[in-house]
Symmetry: C3
Subunit: 136 residues, 3 copies
């Protein structure tokens, strides 16, 4: 059985943001067993799963990603939309644009320390749209 | 319901290549709602989803990946198959070997700027094989 | 149809470890056609698919990941759990916490050179838990 839902996210500042509770609330009742596929319809933002307790992890994520893919490189050819644009595209492919999570006993079966991150790589990314598909 | 299809890709030059239309054509009619899992059966190529309009993005991808995982490092121990081989393996794990895309209203529900990239990390990668699985 | 199973992995040393055979053995009989979603319930380990024959590839993976995300950076704010902790979180988002693999003719339809890697990013990561979900 397939259930699908669109989830619209309000604009977030650049950085990594926990959206686990928001997603769970939007999905409502889940099947006993299956998977959730969560997909972001953008090329300058991403989704990942990581530590849900200490905000300093999400702060360090922002710094490390900026070092991995630095802005303002003279050799970037795609630079019309600002210095944060081309790095945002690349970062989106490093995290990926979707996460898939097992559903067990009617709940997302994340590890105790795991949360879903929205990765906002633009300075002003605006609203972001997710497509959630539950397969059971 | 599960539908599965093998898609053979002709050799591509090293770089990032849009294959969205080719994949859609190969798949033919899709179910109303579900997911597409697209998997590449190789360890020196990858799949990712990114910007579908400006070819300069794909050109910059090639440069950034080469800086992230440089060739000709003296400390590589796996170097029998050429200087592009070990970096290709690593890059394949950075992009990943599969993408999963929601299907809605009988179509791939990609964002307006999203396309599927074949990431060819070898200088002479040859033919590449994809396994497409549609779950609905 | 959905089949789900928990797979507990014994502690592994830091590095990249082939777990394909272990996973296949744990799963037992597979459906004719479908997908396997394999998910690791941790934020300092990951899963990826890569070369299954030459152990030097997995050795080089360890070196390259350490260069991509170095330890002991003074600007890390999340450093209470040791110098390998924050890098482990980031590496986990680079590989991802799950892999999805097509099932064809009752077997994992991996390419001939592909294997499933457990990516252990901690010095002493301990036991790791996987959730395997087969959808057909």
């Amino acid at each position: 059985m397939t259930i699908q839902k669109t989830i619209d996210l309000s604009p977030s500042p650049r950085g990594f943001h926990l959206i686990t509770q928001l997603v769970e609330k939007e999905l409502g009742k889940l099947p006993t067993e299956g998977i959730l596929h969560l997909f972001i319809q953008h090329t300058s933002a991403g989704l990942t799963i990581n530590e849900n307790a200490d905000p300093s992890v999400r702060k360090d994520f922002e710094q490390i990603f900026n070092k991995l893919v630095p802005e303002n490189q003279l050799w970037y050819s795609h630079d019309d939309e600002g210095s944060d644009d081309m790095p945002a595209h690349l970062k989106s492919s490093l995290t990926g644009t979707s996460v898939t999570i097992p559903i067990s006993h009617g709940r997302l079966n994340l590890g105790i320390w795991q949360g879903i991150y929205l990765c906002e790589f633009r300075n002003h990314g605006g609203r972001r749209r997710l497509i959630a598909t539950v397969i059971s």
